[in-house]
Subunit: 304 residues, 4 copies
């Protein structure tokens, strides 16, 4: 009923009885880590998410923007990423920042890659400046189809062929069902990602199947569709005792309300510019830490 | 019921039977110009808008972003502005761009003033470069209280005292009830404006009363509050035949839904960056044209 | 003597007697068009520029920033580009914007591609919206090696392989010898370009040889190296009558002065942000016009 | 001879024998602190700097961009500022960020004020959220005359009148003689500052005399004029043994070379965007620390 979300954890809530899904929740202080595994194609189709593992880090205290919480989530993200992929000095990692840098809530990917420690050109052209051997990391922000006229997959594929990475990490902004998630959730997944999703054809998918190496997607919910908010409001009403309503009628009403709100309408917090900047720091910090471990800080100084 | 709007025309729609309001509508091609005059304090209180004249220019075709429509609305705006204020070479006009330049939908004011033709320093320090005598125009973007710690009024007042303008034009982003307005409406008013409105104390109001010279406010709706969308959706349901509901219950439901969406949640189109840029061009273009008339183009070349 | 320039016309001035170079100058009002052809490898080595044709459009009046001069140069650029490449509805053109968007004078390429009319995805996914058949145009801004860790050539090559363009147009910021050029010159060339030039290995070169299709480079001088300014000053002194100086001594002096100015020091006008924006408009305007001709305006409206 | 600098320390080097100047140098590790006091009007006129105290912090290691050096300089700046002004919970401090935010090397002031901890509106409207009493701090970035048409002094004066600060701190970008200073020097002064200096009329000066409260100027050299580089080069040559030259001739040469480089030509490092960002962090960090001491961090968390 017009509820759209990219978060596996929210889709699970909407389909609590679905079989073929494993779920596990862990608490670390005020942070909740939920691990959802979609085991088979039936469950995948029902949830509308590919088979694979989805990890949601929920940290409502991020909203306070305290440096302690920021670094706690950064560390946690690094740890979870390190469990999905192992990195050492022989790794070559390609980071892909999806999205349109000219549209604030869509610029998470490009902003994140700009803070990644890039080492590939140094290892290749001036390895002598590195005190310790480290992984080779490179990063691109390929832009979006509507701006470049080139499918993201075509740009990424070309770079994968020449760089031959051992793993690819893709960063993208997500849509969630609840506005409250916008400043407080990170989702990791090993199931790949379709840029400009919804389109959903395999050709355009960035995944282990299409690229030939492990692909980890890291996403942050930064928008809620206006249609989701309306659908949610109406759904809530329909479910209330004391409100007697014809379900078909309600569905029609929603339909007409949603149509009035063009599909491009999104709900964001007013301080979305700041939120995107903060989340880009957390994601890039977590990736840097996962890949470079103890060398992260000395690399930061070297590369600055 | 949680419906918030800064547009007099939308408030009028919500209060169609209110007395003490004059209303007149004019059509120019696909553009509609609505003139609303709030005549007395009772009507003002009921509508939640100060006494005075409010002109709404509605141009749904702006959404097509065609240069023709842009220049048509620019011309219309110049004409309406010219009817509210008359400008000549003896005028001194202070343009005030309200809002936070770091928050996209709030940056209309600062972006607009950056495109105004500034002549005051030229008239003062090198008048010889001007071929024809023109009005003296200056502009400031005083920032917002939360960023500067200084009330907007305090900054503007100081500048008014030293510049001694014959008129002040204030530009601000507005909230509307309908998302469809976001790229297609401009409101002009002679009733003044309260930066960070809602606060509503007279001290902070930019108006003829507080500044001592005519103040024209030009605003563009760029956000809809998420709570307004929900309130609207629920209101629509309540009014439907075949839906039997307890009004008090509905109001409670709305209350709880709205609370879940923090007050800072706003609804914007995804391409808000582009829309703000376009509307800033139209507003600044209209102001330049109203003030400088036939000299606008030669001034543009001189000042560039 | 420490004079660095990317402009063939300036290199020619420094080597006026060099054989193997054809040169032709044309005047259109206040605009000068100089066509230089480097005919053989000896001349190429001496000048430090590859064999091929270099066209310099010199329009000192650009500095006035008058819209008329802007559109005159745009038209001229379109015409010269149209003489080097022919475009029709069967053309597929890849535009590559070189440079680092985070460094103002280096951001000409990325800024220019953002204003190109992109049609490839429309022709591919929704051709029905196009009234007239037009060329297929796509564009990328691959970033710089120091930021991405990936050679520009590797990104471009991958895109060329999947897009299979009939021509590639590359845009880059150039260094010139004279600061006065910064706001007034455009260079076109069919000889290819080496991103992060000076490096000069063939692998990284974007050219007909490396990409297999015609490559036109369009560049605008936006910086002068501080070392060039010093070298020029000292060279001028050495050549003056009444100044008796030991050439070796002068060379040493220059050496030590240049060393004090790190190689990264550049000379730019203070309003470089504005100049880059203006030149990006002119270059993108010229490219759009050359490729789309009479359809340029209707495409602009469609794509906005 | 066409050498322009805003740094008292560099002017002192150029006038080493000038009387009426006290000078003292202190070393802290690799950082040098030079304190220059211009004692009387004669010395002031000769140096082209107002009477008063000028402190230069020279930290060549800032170029390495290591976080340690950044925080060392931040601490030092806070200490020096604390020696010039004393702050406590009864202080009201107005921070003024001079310069044009649209011109990178000129945007230091606006960027710095955006990172200052603003407390005035909190003390005034919601003092209960503050755990400890702190100073009242507000900040404005008044823009430049060429953009606003309003003299900086007129904006600042109006705000001073309504805010009634106990001290004003002004931040501005400076010109220096040597490019090497650009990323490594901070100058503090109690002598006031003339925005758009050179103009030099008292009316426009921000100083204790004009504003009635102590005014501390903090500046960072971010540009070198191209004419200074040329003048320096030619001066060096003139002084060399083995180079026999007519001084008048040399002066003429310089004159003609400098004229060819328009006065607006400046020399900056290519990574000026990054340098401005870094220096804005250091300056704002030092100011925050000087004013808020141990409360700085908890305030940062509260205000974010």
């Amino acid at each position: 009923m017009h509820i759209y979300t990219d978060l596996a954890a929210e889709l699970r809530e909407l389909n609590p009885d679905e079989k073929g899904i494993e779920e596990q929740t862990e608490k670390k202080g005020n942070i909740e880590i939920k691990r959802i595994r979609i085991l088979n194609d039936i469950a995948a189709r029902r949830l509308g998410k590919k088979k694979g593992c989805y990890i949601t880090i929920d940290a409502p205290e991020l909203e306070s923007r305290s440096p302690e919480v920021f670094s706690e989530v950064t560390d946690l993200l690094a740890k979870e990423l390190g469990r999905m992929l192992s990195f050492d000095e022989n790794s070559t990692v390609l980071i892909v920042g999806l999205g349109n840098r000219g549209v604030t809530p869509d610029s998470l990917g490009p902003q994140t890659v700009s803070e990644i420690h890039i080492t590939r050109h140094i290892k290749k052209f001036m390895p002598e400046v590195l005190e310790t051997p480290v992984a080779s990391v490179c990063a691109i922000a390929p832009g979006v189809l509507g701006i470049t006229g080139v499918e993201t997959m075509d740009v990424v594929n070309g770079v994968v062929e020449s760089v031959k990475p051992t793993a690819v990490i893709v960063i993208d902004a997500l849509a969630s069902r609840r506005a409250a998630r916008i400043s407080s959730t990170v989702q990791l997944s090993d199931a790949g990602i379709s840029p400009g999703s919804g389109v959903g054809n395999t050709r355009s998918e960035l995944s282990k199947e299409s690229l030939g190496v492990p692909v980890i997607a890291i996403g942050v919910p930064l928008v809620v569709y206006a249609s989701t908010i309306i659908g949610d409001a109406i759904g809530m009403i329909a479910g209330e005792p004391g409100i007697d309503c014809d379900e078909a009628k309600l569905r029609n009403l929603t339909e007409s309300l949603v149509k009035k709100q063009s599909g491009d309408m999104i709900v964001t917090p007013k301080d979305i510019d700041t939120i995107v900047k903060d989340m880009a720091s957390i994601i890039s910090g977590g990736i840097n830490l996962a890949i470079f471990g103890d060398n992260t800080e000395s690399l930061a100084a070297l590369l600055s």
